[in-house]
Amino acid sequence: MSLDMIQMVLVTVLTAATPLIIAALGELVVERAGVLNLGVEGMMVCGAALGFAAAVETNSTLLGALAGAGAGMGLAAVFGLLTVGLAANQVASGLALTILGLGLSGLVGAGYVGQKREPAPHLYVPGLSDLPGIGRLFFGQDAFVYAGLGLAAGIAWFLWRTRAGLILRAVGDDHAATHALGLPVRGVRFFAVLFGGACAGLAGSYLSLAYTPFWAPAMTAGRGWIALALVVFASWRPGRVVAGATLFGGATVLQLHAQAASIGLPGQLLSALPYVATILALVLLSLGRRRGGSLAPAALGRDFTPHR
């Protein structure tokens, strides 16, 4: 394998991981605040549809990405009103959100099926992007990839280095106590849900604007569910989400390359590899640091209705 070939594989690994990273990071913040939103797939697919539609209409990738994030946020607001505002069941509401999102995206995107546009522009730094072996990997990606990695660093900093992050984690661990301290439990949760929706929508718009630049119904193909699972296996830590998503994306891409290179292993075994590898790695990781009890935010999935 030549150096350029290895770089090509690494570049595709990172692009395959990016939608998972962005969506999973959003869900991580939501769950850290104690809310379980199973509607990631629905918000993602709506982000893909609306993002593509807006980008075609305005001819701007940036506006498309913003519209995608907005679509996810809009759906998340519905979810937030139901679960945080009215204390409706989070699991049922999340599942309904997925169904609603899939239907809605088909409606929004109906007029845009079969259209295509140029993929999102890639960064080009004269000199640096042309470096053999690493230039394209580090200096030649599109904005979504950098946004995803920046988001991971930003969220890690926010959750463990700021007062607001501490409050968010406290709300997710014990909503009764934080409420007694006079902290706005429902406000924090609602904003977390909105943030998660925006991330899911952004991840969806990445699919239709950069990854495969067209819109097709249900084009997320289950990535929202994988993002959800990644959050759990990453034991609610941003760094591990990035590692898990990269491992998953990497195994997916590598098994396709292995098949193309005819190494002679059956395709189904190779197709199962990403799932097996990711689960194994993340389970082992979380075993190492375990200090008894669950790693999940203690109030995850529990409704909160303040006493009046």
Binding site: A92, I99, G114, T212, M219, L256, Q259, A260, G267
Partner: protein, 354 residues
């Protein structure tokens, strides 16, 4: 509120396309597994519905249900049967058992099930010999490849896909016996991201022409982006890749649907099985583009020869991957062999997932 939303969604799914009523017209219903706007499998079935409505505007009234999940199809089909349909086309393999169940309850309604193998007195089956089109694609690919390597993105190892791969390879070998075929199984019918990754992997491994048996246009777009060539799937996908698409194997059900509807109208309809190919107009190749005139002429001649019965993709001798003889020289593979194909022809360098 939640239930209302859900109800509205389900209601929208079941929305009927033609609300007008006329008692003397034959009502013809169609059930699709995907969205009409998929520009692929379900889109092609809907084209046949539109062709029918245009061909017999005074005699039929058409209706369709789209996005019907296979698990919930019995309810959808029964709803159509109950609403006074005379003829119902159910167009996905997974609708087979539900179609038969509903057909037992409504003996006067005629049913047409696409790609299945079980029939009843009021249930016919129809399918197309897609592999004939893939044979033509194989010949084109082997003529045009510069690297001698062709990439093939496959979905699931079922006979329809395997016979397609074999026909493609036999077509390619008829031009160049040393041509290489690299196969990647993605284990999905539709996942644009994964299909694009598979396309990238194949192109990186030296393939310069891509064929696919998955439903999205992502591989075509990837080929276009890298200045390589590819074949469209199910439907003419030229709009996605005007510089890359060579042709596409297109399913054309219009002729069959109109013929069967006419048979119901004049009372001559009978339950039967139809497996039509290029000759019957059920398999059509999209316009040959992005190739020199002589290759185009060769492709057109091959299509004509298959239509005339002079060329058969599975005419012997056909040798299996392990060297044993599948079809002897001078013979032609019988239909049951093609319908149950679970082996590769010689020259394919891949292990067939079992």
């Amino acid at each position: 509120m939640l239930r209302t939303t859900l109800g509205a969604c389900l209601g929208a799914l079941l929305l009927l396309a033609s609300p007008t009523h006329a008692e003397d017209k034959l009502k013809v219903g169609f059930v699709y597994v995907g969205p009409v706007a998929d520009y692929g499998y379900s889109f092609q079935h809907d084209l046949s519905r539109r062709a029918l409505a245009e061909a017999l505007p005074d005699k039929v009234e058409t209706t369709y249900l789209e996005n019907v999940p296979e698990s919930d199809s019995e309810r959808a089909i029964e709803k159509l049967a109950r609403s006074g349909m005379g003829l119902i086309f159910t167009t996905s393999f997974g609708f087979m058992e539900p179609t038969l169940k509903v057909a037992r309850k409504f003996p006067k309604v005629k049913f047409e099930h696409a790609t299945g193998y079980k029939r009843a007195a009021n249930v016919s089956t129809y399918s197309a010999r897609f592999y004939e089109g893939r044979y033509v694609c194989g010949k084109i690919a082997a003529t045009l490849t510069k690297t001698g390597t062709i990439g093939y993105i496959a979905s699931f190892p079922i006979p329809e896909v395997v016979s397609g791969i074999n026909a493609f390879m036999l077509g390619a070998q008829s031009v160049n016996p040393n041509v290489k075929l690299k196969i990647v199984w993605v284990n999905t019918w539709f996942d644009p991201g994964k299909e694009a990754e598979a396309a990238k992997a194949l192109l990186a491994q030296g393939a310069d022409i891509l064929a696919q048996h998955t439903d999205s246009a992502a591989p075509l777009q990837e080929a276009e982006k890298q200045g390589k060539l590819a074949f469209g799937q199910s439907s003419d996908q030229y709009r996605f890749a005007p510089k890359a698409q060579l042709t596409a194997v297109v399913d054309d059900w219009s002729g069959y649907v109109i013929r069967e509807t006419k048979a119901v109208l004049d009372g001559s309809w009978q339950s039967h099985d139809t497996w039509g190919g290029i000759k019957d107009g059920m398999v059509v190749l999209a316009p040959f583009t992005n190739m020199p005139a002589d290759v185009k002429a060769m492709a057109e001649d091959t299509v004509k020869a298959i239509a005339a019965g002079k060329v058969n993709p599975f005419a012997g001798p056909v040798t299996k991957q392990d060297g044993s003889v599948a079809v002897k020289a001078g013979e032609i593979a019988p239909d049951p062999m093609i319908l149950g194909m679970n082996w590769y022809v010689k020259g394919i360098d891949d292990t067939l997932p079992q």
